[in-house]
């Protein structure tokens, strides 16, 4: 089962994992949470995430589908937030479940790596001194 959500609201990882049907959980479940950091130590007031809704949905869906097939997953959930977030707020949640832990790990890392360079979301940091768009890394 694949589930994609793009939302401004916070998510609850326990609830997401609990929702996975018991038979589909399949032994190994890997989760990744990316959260807001104060990257420049300039007293981050907030982080704004802008996105291109239609394309973001498409990219997340395709990425999940590729990972699902390629690593034989039983479950794949991707939730990405947009809007105004504060330090330590969770931004993205990726859950991959599989009979084999290696595949759950590989699929999860692939998804976050791919999203970082292909999903149309953009971060703007508002610190006490200034506002700037975050530059892409790696």
């Amino acid at each position: 089962m694949i589930k994609i959500r793009i939302q401004s609201e916070a998510f609850n990882i326990e609830n997401e994992i609990k929702e996975i049907s018991r038979s589909k959980l399949n032994g190994a479940t890997v989760s990744f949470i990316g959260s807001v950091r104060d990257l420049k130590s300039e007293n981050l007031k907030n982080l704004e995430i802008e996105h291109f809704p239609k394309m973001a949905e498409k990219v997340l869906e395709k990425t999940a589908q590729y990972a699902f097939k390629n690593w034989n997953l039983s479950q794949c959930i991707i939730i990405h937030r947009y809007g105004k977030l504060k330090i330590a707020d969770p931004i993205v949640l990726i859950i991959t479940s599989s009979p084999h832990r290696k595949e759950a790990f590989k699929a999860n890392e692939y998804i976050i790596d791919f999203l970082k360079t292909n999903a149309p979301f953009w971060k703007k940091e508002n610190t006490e001194k200034r506002s700037y768009w975050v530059n892409q890394k790696n």
């Binding site: 996105h51 291109f52 973001a56 498409k58 931004i91 970082k116 292909n118 953009w122 892409q136």
Partner: protein, 82 residues
């Protein structure tokens, strides 16, 4: 043809979308960018650092992609989500 702009490019241009009519000699995505940069300095400011991507029908395309009959073209900086 509808153009969509996001993030820093949207801010520089001061608009999130606009509808334009292209002259018949504009075929590729690269032609579109050149055309816009000739049209107004504000596009030069937005695109001159070459740090942008183009998506047609929500798919990344290269500069030689033929956009002549495309309805919606998005232009945006490198993504920074996740």
């Amino acid at each position: 043809m509808k153009l969509l702009y996001f993030a820093k490019i949207r801010e520089i241009l001061g608009r999130s979308d606009e509808t334009i009519s292209l002259p018949p000699n504009i075929l590729s995505a690269g032609d579109l960018i050149d055309y816009l940069m000739d049209l107004d300095d504000i596009y030069k400011t937005a695109f001159s650092d070459k740090r942008f991507f183009i998506a047609v029908d929500e798919e990344f395309v290269e500069m030689d992609f033929i956009i002549k009959n495309s309805k919606e073209i998005a232009i945006f900086p490198p993504v920074t989500g996740g």
